[in-house]
Symmetry: C2
Subunit: 239 residues, 2 copies
């Protein structure tokens, strides 16, 4: 049984310039792992139409799902919706369902539903809206591309709207062992153990604490019995 795969596309000059530290990647990675969808690649590109289109055309056919973050607000640098439409060759315009949502929201707030705000109703034809309980302006799913906001609390709310609708695989389990030895000391037997379990992924993550070398050894897989068995072997080697 294999797991569905995913890629993420982060759209944002502010990440690439170092102004903002991205946190959406880490959140999505954890959520996908939990439901058994395997995040295989992440790309971060600038707010440039052609770069977004090129990335989507590479990622969309290669993975079960593509998740994007950023660039769906009301300002001139919010170009994601149009780029997604172009990449997937869909038409785009202000859609009545999104217009109605936003109109009602700004009416309630007593704010003008001006031209800039109406930009957020630009949704490709054939797309399904993604619910945004935080600030109403919706994301959308077009084909296998899920388009979400970049602001972390809105991104997280949209992820919570989308993921329950997707079919996951068996959960990706992980167990780890913390060893007070450097990687160079355990690498030989650890590598030999990994070779005996080609169906599992074994990784080692070194750290320095109070000047002493240590390593976290992690075993990942979808079959609980296999992960347990390998973990027993690992603990016998280094525990």
């Amino acid at each position: 049984m294999t797991n569905p795969t995913a890629a993420m596309l982060v759209i944002g000059d502010e990440i690439l310039s170092g102004r903002t530290r991205d946190s959406n990647m880490h959140h999505l990675a954890q959520e996908l792992t939990r439901i058994g969808i395997s995040l295989r690649e992440v790309r971060v590109v600038a707010d440039v139409h052609d770069e977004i289109v090129a990335a989507l055309r590479a990622l969309s056919p290669a993975f079960t799902h593509v998740f994007t973050s950023g660039g769906i607000g009301p300002t001139h640098d919010d170009i994601t919706a149009d780029a997604v439409a172009a990449a997937l060759r869909a038409k785009i315009g202000q859609r009545a369902d999104a217009m109605a949502l936003l109109q009602a929201h700004y009416d309630r707030a007593g704010l003008p539903f001006n031209e800039a705000r109406q930009r957020m109703a630009r949704i490709p034809e054939g797309a399904t809206l993604i619910d945004n309980p935080v600030s109403i302006a919706p994301g959308f799913t077009l084909g296998n591309v899920h388009v979400m906001a970049g602001v972390p609390n809105i991104f997280q709310a949209m992820v919570a709207s989308v993921l329950p609708k997707l079919t996951g695989g068996p959960p990706l389990l992980s167990q780890s062992l913390r060893v007070a030895r450097g990687e160079g000391e355990i690498a030989g037997p650890f590598g030999a153990l990994a070779a005996e379990y080609p169906d599992l992924s074994m990784g080692s993550y070194p750290f320095l604490q109070n000047g002493a070398h240590g390593t976290n050894l992690v075993i990942r897989g979808t079959d609980p019995a296999r992960v347990d068995e390998a973990m027993v072997r690992l603990t016998r080697l280094f525990g």
Copy 2:
């Protein structure tokens, strides 16, 4: 005058599984911006030879520099050096200069220089070593690809070793204005201002604080006089 460009390739299952939160991207982004090298794209891929090779073959010809992080330790999942050699069609083996560095290090520490540790001396032919003052095992530069460790303090030390050797462009300046209004309110005039300054990059980053919408408006460019001039205009609009 244009700025040199850069891409980053983060290699690591642990980032994609959500086990570890990457911090190297943010550090590199800030350091490159400081010296006037424009980070244009980041990719995160798993510890899979073919995926690393494919990413390097896409990125290396497209940017002035490529920086990688992760996968250069002594364990079986450390495959970056071999993948870089394959991508750039260089030979690779244990190199005498790296062997000598590591042998001296382990001799001083009274630790065996075993087979796993000798893996860290696998450096492609023609590569220049990158100094690692933290734990000795070097990174390397091959062509325009700078290969560095994933452990954040070692990554940062290697970045500090490499960047002074590179030719930057004019520093990428940035000024920002914090406005207590939502994006939808300022988007129209802000977009019109951005259109008047095609040589500058203007971005808006919304936030919610105590339930109220606000926006950080950021102007970026390399010409200080132009950035100042646009900032005066921006402040007059929304200050």
